[in-house]
């Protein structure tokens, strides 16, 4: 099976896990040897990640004091305002729109992480990236570490300052546990790099401790003083690029 044998509709279902297990495996297997198929999957995954990310913002306080309160009738006023705002909106849209039709053909994504990283560039003079890992799946962890290596090598070669924070939570913290993780030596090397920091969610550590009844030992140098729910938003607010493994 080649990339052309799979429609985009089917690949959408694949990334949304809406196919049965045989079909999921078929695409998974085909993607191992087919770079074009991998790239198509990456692009769709990247779009999904970006949409999810774009609306994960802090919610402003509600004007309503309690949830029983019936809403006030301000909608009509808002709709009237829309006509005025429309003009401003169109203007702003054109101001920020950079059209480049050939860009579609220039894309070459190794995988989803790289693809997203390419597209969410915020500041090339000083790149700051979060790599978020919440899975203990070895394939996911391995892919994430490959990505970390790739990003570091790329930016070092280009002499572009960068900071990579690898934030783990849930089963993702297991990758940082000696005796549990097969990637300990590899991660130690990354921890020794000044540009890379590893974080383990303090809540996930506490939960793992409670669940397993043993002390959760992590590699030296792993930072454990905050939860992932604190670590990620505080970086996002400062414009860091978010990459989900």
């Amino acid at each position: 099976m080649t990339s052309r044998d799979f429609t985009d509709e089917k690949l959408n279902m694949f990334i949304d896990a809406q196919l049965d297990s045989d079909e999921m495996n078929e695409i998974r297997q085909a993607s191992l040897d087919d770079r074009d198929l991998r790239e198509r999957i990456c692009q769709l995954k990247a779009v999904r990640e970006l949409v999810g990310y774009a609306y994960s913002t802090e919610v402003p306080p509600s004007k309503y004091e309690n949830i029983n309160q019936k809403k006030s009738s301000t909608l009509f006023a808002k709709a009237l305002a829309a006509s005025v705002t429309l003009v401003v909106g169109v203007f702003l849209g054109w101001e920020t729109y950079h059209y480049s039709p050939q860009a579609v053909d220039e894309i070459s994504a190794e995988n989803t992480f790289q693809y997203v990283a390419n597209h969410v560039a915020v500041d090339h003079s000083n790149r700051k990236i979060i790599l978020h890992i919440d899975s203990g799946d070895l394939q996911v962890v391995n892919a994430a570490l490959n990505e970390a290596d790739h990003l570091l090598a790329t930016y070092k070669k280009a002499n572009v300052p960068m900071k990579l924070d690898v934030i783990t939570n849930r089963n993702g913290i297991n990758m940082l546990r000696p005796g549990v993780s097969p990637y300990v030596e590899r991660i130690k090397k990354l921890i020794d790099d000044d540009d890379v920091s590893f974080f383990a969610c303090e809540r996930s550590i506490a939960k793992a401790h409670k669940r397993e009844g043993v002390e959760i030992k992590l590699l030296p140098g792993v930072i454990t003083d905050k939860s992932a729910k604190e670590l990620i938003p505080e970086r996002l607010e400062k414009g860091w690029v978010y990459i989900k493994a």
Partner: protein
């Protein structure tokens, strides 16, 4: 005793609804891109949910039930005001003031601009799938369209966004590729 049980159940449901407020707001905002309206829609949704809590048969379907109410509130707004086309062009200047740093993020701006330009039915489906994480069947139930329509809308939405985001990211991409290690 039954009265006490009912009171406890009602209180518990209210808490469950309130706990979902932020996520409801984000979805409402992704549809209308207007903070005050999103707040109104969520308030109306929770108000209706509390009022009609007895109709929620299965607690496990609470999420899709709540989003169905939100979707209906949104559709009611569009129907009553008849602003299906004009409203999609609104920009969120209020929101920029509330979270300035975050709003300045190029990623958010670019993606939101791309989502905003989608036709409403496509926008609703793609945010329910990609942000709220509903299955196709759940989205079909929330938006009251056949599952095939959900798939088709999602396909078109993602194709459109892929193209928009590639175009938006072209400058950065070209620059990045020059530095890339093979």
């Amino acid at each position: 005793m039954k009265v006490v049980k009912n009171l406890v159940a009602a209180f518990s449901l209210k808490s469950e609804f309130a706990a979902r407020r932020d996520k409801l707001y984000r979805i409402a905002y992704s549809w209308c891109h207007e903070p005050a309206l999103a707040d109104d829609l969520v308030q109306e949704t929770i108000y209706k949910a509390i009022k009609n809590a007895s109709r929620l048969r299965d607690i496990n379907t609470m999420d899709s039930w709540l989003y169905r109410i939100l979707y209906n509130c949104w559709q009611d707004f569009l129907r009553v005001k008849g602003r299906n086309i004009e409203f999609i062009e609104m920009h969120d200047e209020d929101q920029a003031g509330q979270s300035e740093n975050y709003q300045q993020s190029q990623i958010v701006k670019r993606v939101r601009a791309s989502v905003e330009q989608l036709p409403l039915p496509l926008r609703e489906v793609v945010t329910l799938a990609d942000f709220a994480g509903f299955t196709y069947a759940e989205i079909a139930e929330i938006t009251e369209v056949p599952i095939g329509t959900v798939m088709s809308r999602l396909f078109r939405a993602r194709q459109n966004l892929k193209q928009q985001l590639l175009e938006f990211g072209s400058d950065e991409l070209s620059e990045f590729k020059l530095r890339r290690v093979k």
